[in-house]
């Protein structure tokens, strides 16, 4: 959004002043290289000579330091930010506390990494051109333009009201001039009460007299208006008053302005600005009202001597009610008026979100949700394992890292840890960065996006070939062996074929259950327990005492095809060379085996749909595994599955095996909870025994 926002105040001492300006600053390398000069309000488009750098409040940004490309920007600042934060403006206006906020001290910064934008709140804009426009908007909003009454006009523009300010935009002549006179003397008929007109001059100030007059004026002043022109930009202004016991008339006049080059932007978002700026106004007014209520009680009342009375007051017999004295203090800052030390931070947040939200409205965003066990396991894996499993891809096993949430950092005010997805993403990135040179995985970044889909395609090929073989049960045996913790050994002369086969079937297991060795030249005895997915050469010597293993042979039909298209197993012959002793044929198959088989053999379920279904199936059974893990600390093994719905007798082996795939963090959490519960129950036990 090409707009800045500012809080302006009509200072009793100095007149209209900009108190605080919130401006978005962006990375504009692309724009700068563009031959067309930008006419936007973006500060980096200014050609003013460089001035002093604005000192900003330091903020942690702990999660972003390593992510950002530039931790030390061209303008010499060492804090992370986007764009150019150099201050080009020299503000020579006289100021007092009432019209100052940051002065030349530190200002506030928020980074929106999603849109690569920094929101900087300072007293005046950093760039001269922006400063001039905001200054004009400030003057006109407070002293010239008449805003529409919110209650009567519903916040509409001032076209109905007497916009008689000496501005070009407001010089339009309404059709009914008699109706738009702001002040017409003696037009009100004197009815009913029969108070003589001259009495108003002589009467004492009523207790609420001043207040009523003020309320009337307040209604005239509060409201919003859009004004501007091509030369000075366009402005949405929300003018309002903040009550103050020590101000003239008990009120101070403020305006919130949004200045931009784009009139359409303001008109399109009129209701939005009216609502959001109205919210800021209400916030300020509420704070000020609380302070006023306390302070007004401390101000002494007017006495008879303080009131000017007509010479023959006593003869007339009027008696006035003393009112409150005015204890005027013109240089009270907004901090004092609202009694809120962090008022500028509060306003900064308000303004930042007001400017940011319309930008986000144009951007779709996937919400993060609860982390799955796969994500949690992924965080606990070694980097070598991540590389081996090719889990760097977003589609792999879960939709990791599709969205990178906004980070906002302000020291001492808000600290946020990086989101879970972001941490997973960062870990994957780090794993990729440390990938060994001799890694034989896919090096081509262009085709990396198709890795996961290629694995799923291979999975479909494997299923169809096994199903079409002489032994159609081989597919069930393979899946059964896989999901119940048996070992799958793949023989092939081509390492890549082994690897692709194992990666393909790994999609049927949760990450925590995968122990993968894509290729071993020799099968050592300890491998039977160390890996559940292992690849090796033809006629791999697998000891016969390893009973729960299925050996599959993958033979390319044409070696030249393997080189040209390494990912696909389409041109390979897949056959089962050895079956496990317990192949599940003795009893019923687990539900997940049937589910996987149906999915893999269904020609209509493929690619992203297959990926989604496999993922949700895995997650569904992982939930059962989680319950099983919790139950087994409470109940004997025979009792556990009675309390888990949807788990039959044949599924027990699967669920028991999948508990091994739960993340360490989850397991520790369960154990810690158990210990805590036991710890809490000990005193009760001791009490009981003492009885």
């Amino acid at each position: 959004m090409q707009a800045v926002m500012a809080l302006c105040h009509f200072c009793e001492n100095h007149g209209p002043r900009i108190v605080m300006t919130c401006q978005p600053v962006r990375d504009v390398e692309e724009k700068e290289s563009s031959p067309n000069p930008s006419t936007s309000l973006d500060p980096s488009t200014s050609d003013s000579p460089p001035g002093p750098i604005v000192p900003l409040i330091k903020f942690d940004g702990e999660c972003e330091f390593h992510h950002r490309k530039q931790t030390k920007s061209e303008d010499g600042t060492s804090y992370p930010h986007y764009g150019n934060c150099t201050k080009f403006t020299i503000d020579l206006d006289d100021r007092c506390s009432a019209c100052s906020s940051f002065r030349n001290g530190p200002c506030l910064l928020s980074n929106d990494h999603q849109t690569r934008t920094s929101y900087i709140s300072s007293e005046v804009a950093l760039q001269e051109r922006v400063y001039e426009r905001v200054k004009i908007a400030c003057l006109r909003s407070l002293s010239c333009e008449r805003s529409g009454d919110l209650e009567e006009n519903g916040g509409t523009n001032s076209s109905k009201t007497p916009s008689k300010a000496p501005s070009k935009s407001s010089s339009k002549k309404p059709a009914t001039p008699r109706k738009w006179r702001p002040e017409v003397i003696h037009e009100e008929p004197i009815n009913g009460t029969r108070i003589p007109p001259s009495a108003t001059v002589l009467q004492e100030p009523k207790e609420d007299g001043a207040k009523k007059a003020l309320i009337k004026e307040k209604e005239e002043a509060d409201g919003c208006v859009i004004f501007g022109d091509v030369d000075n930009g366009y402005c949405f202004a929300f003018v309002f008053r903040v009550i103050d016991a020590k101000a003239r008339g008990f009120h101070r006049l403020f305006s919130l302005v949004v200045v931009t080059n784009d009139l359409t932007f303001l008109t399109n978002n009129f209701e939005y600005f009216k609502t959001t700026l109205g919210g800021i106004k209400t916030d300020l007014q509420t704070l000020a009202q609380e302070v006023y209520s306390k302070e007004i009680l401390l101000i002494p009342k007017l006495t008879d001597e303080d009131i000017h009375k007509p010479e023959y007051q006593n003869m007339v017999g009027k008696s006035g009610t003393p009112n409150t004295k005015m204890a005027i203090q013109t240089d009270r800052s907004l901090t004092a008026v609202t009694a809120t030390e962090e008022i500028w931070v509060r306003l900064h947040r308000h303004m930042m979100w007001t400017l940011r939200s319309p930008t986000l409205a144009f951007r779709d965003r996937v919400m993060e949700g609860k982390p799955t066990q796969d994500m949690m396991v992924l965080l606990e894996l070694d980097q070598s394992q991540i590389v081996e499993l090719e889990l760097h891809h977003p589609n792999q096993h879960s939709s990791i890292c599709r969205a990178l949430p906004l980070m906002i950092e302000i020291q001492n005010y808000q600290r946020c840890r990086p989101s879970f997805m972001r941490r997973v993403h960062l870990k994957n990135e780090a794993a990729l960065a440390t990938r060994p040179d001799n890694f034989e995985g896919l090096e081509n970044e262009v085709i990396k996006g198709e890795v996961s889909m290629a694995q799923l395609a291979n999975l479909k090929i494997i299923a169809s070939q096994l199903n079409a073989s002489n032994e159609p049960e081989d597919l069930d045996i393979l899946i059964h062996t896989l999901v119940t913790g048996g070992q799958v050994a793949v023989e092939s002369r081509e390492k890549e074929c082994c690897r692709q086969f194992l990666l393909a079937i790994s999609n049927l297991l949760p990450i925590g259950c995968i122990k993968l060795a894509t290729y071993k030249d020799q099968y050592l005895p300890e491998y039977s327990s160390r890996f559940n997915l292992i690849g090796g050469p033809h006629n791999m010597d697998i000891p016969l005492d390893v009973s729960d293993v299925i050996v599959v042979r993958v033979m390319p039909r044409d070696l030249s095809i393997v080189d040209s298209d390494k990912m696909s197993l389409e041109n390979c012959v897949i056959e089962v060379r050895r079956r496990p002793e317990n192949d599940g044929s003795g009893g019923g198959l687990p539900q997940i085996v049937k589910r996987y088989r149906d999915l893999l053999l269904d020609a209509d379920v493929r690619d992203t749909l297959l990926e989604s279904v496999l993922r949700t199936t895995r997650e569904g059974w992982m939930h059962k595994a989680k319950i099983c893990y919790q139950m087994k600390h409470h109940l004997p093994a025979s009792e556990i599955f009675k309390h888990i719905t949807g788990v039959g007798y044949d599924d027990r082996q699967v669920v028991m095996y999948w508990t091994a795939g739960l993340s360490d963090a989850y397991k520790q959490h369960v154990i810690a909870s158990l210990q805590h519960t036991r710890h809490m129950s000990i005193p009760q036990t001791s009490t009981t025994s003492s009885r």
Binding site: E12, N13, I136, C144, K164, E183, S198, T200, P205, N323
Partner: protein
Amino acid sequence: MDSDLEEDFDDYHYGIDEDDDYPDSRPTVILMGHKRSGKTSIRKVVFQKMSPNETMFVESTARITRDTICSSFINFETIEFPGQMCPFDDSLDPIGIFQKCEALLFIIDAQAELQEPIATLVEYFCRAYKINQNIKFEVFVHKADGLTEEARVETKFNIYHQVKETIKDQIDVDLQVTYHLTSIYDHSIFEAFSKVVQNLVKQLPTLERLLDVFNNSSKVTKSFLFDILSKIYIATDSEPVEMSIYELCCDMIDVTLDLSSIYGVSENGSNYDERSSSVIRLKSEQIMFLRQVNKHLALVFIMKEDGNEKAGFIDHNFGVFKAGIEQVFKVKNRGVNF
């Protein structure tokens, strides 16, 4: 005299004209001065009938405030600039504003420090003069009620001399500046504003002559032609104005309107019309008369009580005077207003 009146007809500015669709043609009176000098208070007391004591609670004026004063006889526009702003800022279109300006009022707080306001006054007057040389310059030495009589005179004298010398140094022109000692707590502010308004009335010499003729014919001591709603007199005879008599006349208007509003409200809700009149005998052997000229104007005059005051005689002379006024202010719908 009729021919002279016809000449003045075309550039007539005053009086109610319901068909006037071009209010921008109204004369403009600009109020300027430092913050807290009393600009808004003057405006509110004179034109909005605010109690002087209530002005203590008036907010600081942030806006350039335009008021159209048009429902009474007088018909002009006031523009008040906040004291914190320079009216000659380019963004405020100073040329457009001051070219329409007929009178420029600078209000000085007599109880505050004077040097800085005088410097500002001179600067503003000089800049306004450069834009429009026909502006009438007026200075209100305001809040004079807080000073002693000697201090008032001295303050006014000091301001007068400093302004005169400084202006001459700056633009080498002897600007005609009128000074008024004013306060909202007495009638001086109305009297001063009356003088300002009279400067805007082009028919003022004719009106003065009419009043002189009326006084001589009716043996009247002093007469005022009042706009009764604002208590601003738009003309008086050529005799000097005594403040006490002016206050008496203002009080008489108040009394008349008060009584009329209690006992004389007509069916249409109006508590006075062109037939309203009143007579008050004072213990100082003087008689005060109020005769309504039209809906907005009233002739208030005072004469000695020596037995020669005859109602018929005065009525006849007043009728002639009224006819003369009608000749002066010819308006389109004279049936309504005169």
